[in-house]
Each structure stands twice: as structure tokens, then as C-alpha cells.
């Protein structure tokens, strides 16, 4: 199955679940006086669910191999992902998730410095003498800019330092 079709298929499943919620679960939870109203929280979702199912079916039946997207010069060919730096991309996505989970615990300064230094290390930077000072300085500068200039609170230190 082409990627287009697989995505449309996943979307179809999503639409079926969405429609089930709109037509059945939400309908069941309506209060008696609400049943006579012309507009309800599930009115629009009902239309959208049906429209979504129709669209995904059109994509599934209309995008056979001859219609499938052929990557151009500037595009990434997903069939040959191994030829690209997929490892680096996955590690960076992992680093972003780690940043999201550790931001509160480690505090902004430590988490950001680690993320910036780690990110460039993942991309192949080996010059530690340059990389670490740049990351720490950038983290401090951005924290100062956001907290002091823009006035948005960002907890700078780890949780145990308050």
C-alpha cells in the first residue's frame, strides 16, 4: 500500500471513531431539554465525521500506484529513508522529547544548555571547547530576554533550588 493510501486509511479509522463519538456517545449524554434544540455540541462533528469518511474513501480509491506522489528533486524520498540521516533525525526527536520531560525538573538553564550542546553533538560537532560555552551563553541570553525583557516567567534553576 502506498503511503498516501496508508495515511488515508488511518484517517478513515480516526473518522469512524470520531463519528461514533458524535453520533452515539455524545447523543446519549444529551439532556432531555437539549434534544429539541436546533444546534448541539455534536451538530458540526456529525457533518465533519461524514465528510471525513467520504474524503478518506476518495483518497483510498483514487490514489493507486499510478497516482502516488513521486518525490521531486527537492523532496525527501520516503522509500529510501536509509539514504538520509534518519538516525540523527530520530535522535533529535528523542532529544526534544527529553527536553519536554526534563524542562521542569532541571530548570530552563540546565535543560536548554544540555539540549543545545546535545543537539549539536548528535549532528556531529566534536569541538567541545566551542560547543559548551556557546550553549550555556545562549541559554542564559535567551532566559534573560524572555524573563527580564518580555516578562514571561521561566524557572531557571532545578526543582530542588526552588
Amino acid at each position: 500500500m502506498t503511503l498516501d493510501r496508508s495515511i488515508a486509511f488511518i484517517f478513515l479509522i480516526l473518522c469512524i471513531v470520531y463519528s461514533y463519538t458524535a453520533f452515539i456517545s455524545m447523543e446519549a449524554s444529551l439532556l432531555p431539554f437539549e434534544r429539541n434544540m436546533s444546534f448541539l455540541p455534536n451538530t458540526m462533528p456529525k457533518w465533519l465525521g461524514v465528510l471525513g469518511i467520504l474524503c478518506s474513501l476518495v483518497v483510498i480509491f483514487n490514489t493507486g500506484p499510478e497516482h502516488a506522489h513521486k518525490p521531486g528533486d527537492g523532496d525527501i524520498n520516503y522509500r529510501r529513508l536509509g539514504d538520509y540521516k534518519i538516525g540523527q533525525a530520530l535522535m533529535l526527536i528523542g532529544a526534544m522529547l527529553a527536553y519536554a520531560l526534563l524542562l521542569r525538573t532541571l530548570g530552563f538553564l540546565a535543560a536548554t544548555s544540555l539540549f543545545l550542546a546535545g543537539g549539536s553533538a548528535i549532528l556531529g560537532e566534536r569541538n567541545l571547547k566551542l560547543m559548551i560555552p556557546i550553549s550555556i551563553a545562549a541559554a542564559f541570553f535567551i532566559w534573560y530576554l524572555v524573563q527580564e525583557v518580555l516578562g514571561i516567567f521561566l524557572r531557571p534553576w532545578p526543582f530542588f533550588l526552588g
Binding site: 498516501d4 436546533s38 471525513g52 527537492g74 520516503y78 533525525a89 533529535l92 543545545l116 549532528l123 545562549a138
Partner: protein, 506 residues
């Protein structure tokens, strides 16, 4: 109109707003020059800063400045290193890069700057006349017509943005609308589709979605394919001789005249936007040119460089017409601007001119100022700004990713938002692999809530959906929307059938 312009001048010429224009243009140029970062990503990254300003006029002026700057910066990287950061500047590289290779980089940049300036300025003058007239007509609309108008806008975007694959674009629009239904609904404060997650009670954050759809996939593409970011190779070289000759100026003058108007009109249409305007501008000028002139196209023709540059800037200005008058964004970038305005408690639409005339006129006036700033300030600075292209990607990419994360974090101060961002960003990258257009998704998301509000109001007024066929204007608009979807798809099918009859080449 005169009063309006004066009001706009008095708002736009305050020190703070002038600084916003200059700052926005500079930031836009700086970041827009980095290959891979388009205006949508940059504006998305700048939104938290703009919202913190608090003043909607300043915020919109800043973001509009960033927008022009980014387009100009994109042209610079197209010309200097043949790496268009933005789709709308791809056509610029056809003739800009050959000029730069022939040692005329300075001249190419000057032509690009003058063309952008002309396109932008003529566009702003046309906007001055178009927008108020359109806003007057739009004031006659009721919620039923608004609902229908939004449906027309959404189907036009799906029809134009899908590059022949209308069903895919439509699917993305519906997905956007579905995402907009997560959280509290119109008229009822009960939460829906939250799967019991408290953080989804107020729905998805628009900034997170904008970042996840544009900035993050772009950054992941840069990581996957290092050739996309040709930075750090020191190829930019010295830029000298910025002047152009009288003959060159004479030859590009008619091109600029034609393309400013054509570009603007294309920009006004929802879904068409700067990319189509620039390609069409290039194609039209190549067809009009004769003999020697035509042969020069693609080898460093000044006309070939001026046409797309002028058209894309005029189209950018044109795309503000539906945004400011109807509240319907015609492109991904204006959709992000719309989201920013809503976050600042301003609802763009025909009432904008009446309720907040200072915002409306200040934006128009700031367009002139922005174009002037780009010409006067950026041109002499280009040789220095181009040094940015020498930043190694090992440092650049972590910073791009970090700014993307920060953008969605500081608005909410909520780490769950970051997890949603990364998850959606990965999904958006997969969608991009399969060439699903992403702007319709964001536009669907932004229009979703307004669509439901107007739909609910119209339904309550007529006690059902009979307004769809009882009100003639609503009916016409809805028929138009259906036509917009059906005509391109039937045409594509017919073309496909015709092609099937012909043997395919090897």
C-alpha cells in the same frame, strides 16, 4: 479614505511602531535567508513575542514586517547560493543564481530589492482601494452568509493548494476542522473529544499547531538531507557592485508594472498566493519576451529575475485583502497572522475597519514603510547579513529546534504542549513525505471555530439548516463552494483519461 490614511500614519509613525517595522524586516531578512525556514515558520516563531507586546497594531506591524523581510531574505539565499528557503522564491533562483555565478550577485540583489519594493508598494496602493470597498460589501453579510463564505474559502484553498490532488487537500481541511472541535464547543461549555485529558479542555493551541505543521517538519527535513541547507561552506563570497545601468532599469520597468498588478490579483484569490504568482509571473514574462530576450531567460536575464520577485511581493500584499476584510486567510502565512490577531482579541473581518480603524490603516501604511525599510536599510546591509550563511549547520539546527519548542512553551508554560508539538510535528513530517498539503489543515483549524460559531447562530435563527437554501446569497455561495471542489477534480480526471490513451514515454 484620506482620514484613514492619516490615522494610519499617526499610528504607524510612532517610535515604537517604526522600531517594530525596522526590527521585523531585519529579523525576517536574517532568518528568511537561512535555507529551509520560510515565512510561515518565522512568523510562527515570532508570534509569542508579538503577543507579549499587547498592542495589536504593533504586533501586526511587527509580524507583517517579518513577513516581507522573510520573503526578501528568501530571495537573497536563492540568488547567492541557489537554495530558496521559500517556495515563492524558487522562480527567483532561475535567473538570480546564474547572475550571481557570472559575478553579478550585487546587481542581482539590487534588482531583487527594487522589484520587491515596486511589487509591494503597488500592492499596498491597490490594497488601499480594494480593502475598504470589499469591507463595505461584506458588511451586508449575516452569519448564514459568513458560514457559506467560509465554506467557499475552505474549498477554494483545498482546490488550489492541492496541486491537482483536491481530495488530499480536502482531507487535510476536514482534519483541521476536526482538530478545532476538540475542547469546548460553540454555545455549550461542555468539553468534547478530549479523551479525558485535562490539558485538551481548552483545545489545541494554535501556536503549537503552527509550529508543528511548518517549523518542525522543515527542521527535520534539514536534518534528514544536509544538502538542503547549503550553509557553512563559505560559498557566499564577496558582494560588490550593487548598481544597475539605465538600460537595465528601462527594460525591467514594464515588467514591474505588469507583474505588480497581476501578482496582486493572484494574491487576493484564496489559496493561490505568492508561489503561484511568482511562477506565473515568470512564465508570462518569458512568453511575452522576444528573440534574444527570451533566450536569456534561465541564463541570467534581468527580466526573469524582476518578474517573480515583483509578483511574489505584490501577491503577499494582495493576500491581506481577504484577511482584513472578510477575516478569511488566503494562505498559510495569513492564517498564522489571523491566529495571532485572534489571540490579541481582535477579530478581523468587515467590522475591523469600523471597530479598530487604527489597526486596519496602520497595517496598510506600515506596508509602505516596510517596503522602504527593506530597500534602504537591507540593501546596504546584505553583504554583512549574508555572513549568516556561514553558520555551520551543527549549530544552526539545534537552535531552530529550540526556538520552535520555546515558541509553543512560553505561550502556555505547559510542558505537555511540548509533547503535543513533537508528536504532531512527526505526524506532519510523515504527511509531507506523502505530499499532503499542510496549509489547508491549519486554515481549517483556524476557521473551524468561527465556522461553528456562525453555523450555530444561523441554525438558531432559522431553527434548522433551512437557511442554506432559503437565503439566496448563502445558496449561491454554497453552490460555488461545491463547484470549486468538483470542477478541478473532474478536470484532473479527464486529463488523466486522455493521458491513458497515449503511450507513456520511457
Amino acid at each position: 479614505m484620506f482620514e484613514g490614511v492619516m490615522l494610519g500614519l499617526s499610528t504607524a509613525l510612532t517610535l515604537q511602531n517604526l522600531l517594530m517595522v525596522v526590527g521585523g524586516c531585519l529579523i525576517g531578512t536574517f532568518i528568511g535567508m537561512l535555507p529551509g525556514l520560510g515565512p510561515m515558520s518565522i512568523i510562527a516563531i515570532m508570534i509569542p513575542v508579538a503577543i507579549t507586546l499587547g498592542d495589536p497594531s504593533s504586533a501586526l506591524i511587527l509580524l507583517a514586517g517579518v513577513y516581507y523581510g522573510a520573503i526578501f531574505g528568501g530571495s537573497t539565499s536563492s540568488i547567492l547560493i541557489n537554495a530558496p528557503g521559500v517556495a515563492s522564491t524558487v522562480a527567483t533562483s532561475f535567473d538570480g543564481y546564474p547572475m550571481a555565478r557570472a559575478g553579478k550577485a550585487g546587481k542581482a540583489l539590487t534588482i531583487a530589492a527594487i522589484s520587491s519594493f515596486t511589487g509591494g508598494t503597488v500592492g499596498a496602493i491597490l490594497l488601499l482601494f480594494f480593502a475598504p470597498a470589499m469591507a463595505k460589501v461584506a458588511l451586508l453579510f449575516h452569519s448564514a452568509e459568513y458560514f457559506a463564505l467560509m465554506v467557499v474559502g475552505l474549498s477554494a484553498i483545498a482546490a488550489f493548494a492541492g496541486s491537482g490532488q483536491v481530495a488530499k487537500a480536502l482531507m487535510m481541511t476536514v482534519l483541521g476542522l476536526m482538530l478545532a472541535t476538540v475542547g469546548e464547543s460553540a454555545q455549550f461549555s461542555a468539553a468534547r473529544f478530549t479523551a479525558g485529558i485535562m490539558d485538551l479542555q481548552s483545545g489545541f493551541s494554535f501556536i503549537t499547531l503552527a509550529m508543528a505543521l511548518f517549523a518542525l517538519p522543515e527542521a527535520i527535513y534539514l536534518v534528514l538531507d544536509p544538502l538542503r541547507s547549503k550553509t557553512g561552506d563559505g560559498d557566499s563570497g564577496e558582494i560588490k557592485e550593487l548598481r544597475i545601468t539605465k538600460e537595465e532599469a528601462k527594460s525591467i520597468a514594464p515588467v514591474l508594472g505588469r507583474q505588480s498588478i497581476q501578482g496582486f490579483l493572484i494574491g487576493v484569490m484564496p489559496g493561490a498566493g505568492a508561489t503561484i504568482a511568482s511562477f506565473l509571473g515568470y512564465a508570462v514574462e518569458r512568453n511575452i519576451a522576444k528573440g534574444e530576450d527570451q533566450a536569456q531567460f534561465g541564463k541570467g536575464s534581468v527580466k526573469g529575475l524582476a518578474a517573480p520577485e515583483c509578483a511574489n511581493n505584490a501577491a503577499c500584499t494582495g493576500s491581506f485583502v481577504p484577511l482584513l476584510t472578510l477575516g478569511i486567510p488566503g494562505s498559510g502565512t495569513t492564517a498564522i497572522l489571523l491566529g495571532a490577531l485572534i489571540a490579541l482579541n481582535v477579530s478581523p473581518g468587515p467590522r475591523l475597519m469600523i471597530d479598530n480603524p487604527e489597526i486596519f490603516w496602520a497595517v496598510i501604511v506600515s506596508m509602505y514603510i516596510g517596503n522602504l525599510v527593506l530597500l534602504v536599510l537591507n540593501l546596504p546591509l546584505i553583504p554583512y547579513i549574508a555572513k549568516l550563511l556561514a553558520i555551520p549547520r551543527n549549530y544552526l539546527i539545534p537552535f531552530i529546534l529550540f526556538f520552535t519548542l520555546m515558541g509553543s512553551y512560553i505561550g502556555q508554560n505547559n510542558a505537555t504542549e511540548l509533547l503535543i508539538l513533537v508528536g504532531m510535528g512527526v505526524c506532519a513530517t510523515v504527511l509531507r513525505f506523502a505530499n499532503f498539503p499542510l496549509p489547508p489543515l491549519l486554515i481549517g483549524f483556524i476557521l473551524g471555530q468561527m465556522l461553528e460559531d456562525n453555523f450555530s447562530r444561523a441554525t438558531n435563527l432559522t431553527d434548522g439548516v433551512s437557511f442554506m437554501w432559503e437565503r439566496p446569497m448563502t445558496l449561491c455561495l454554497l453552490i460555488l463552494a461545491v463547484g470549486l471542489i468538483i470542477v478541478p477534480s473532474t478536470r484532473a480526471k479527464m486529463a488523466m483519461r486522455k493521458r491513458k490513451g497515449v503511450a507513456l514515454g520511457d
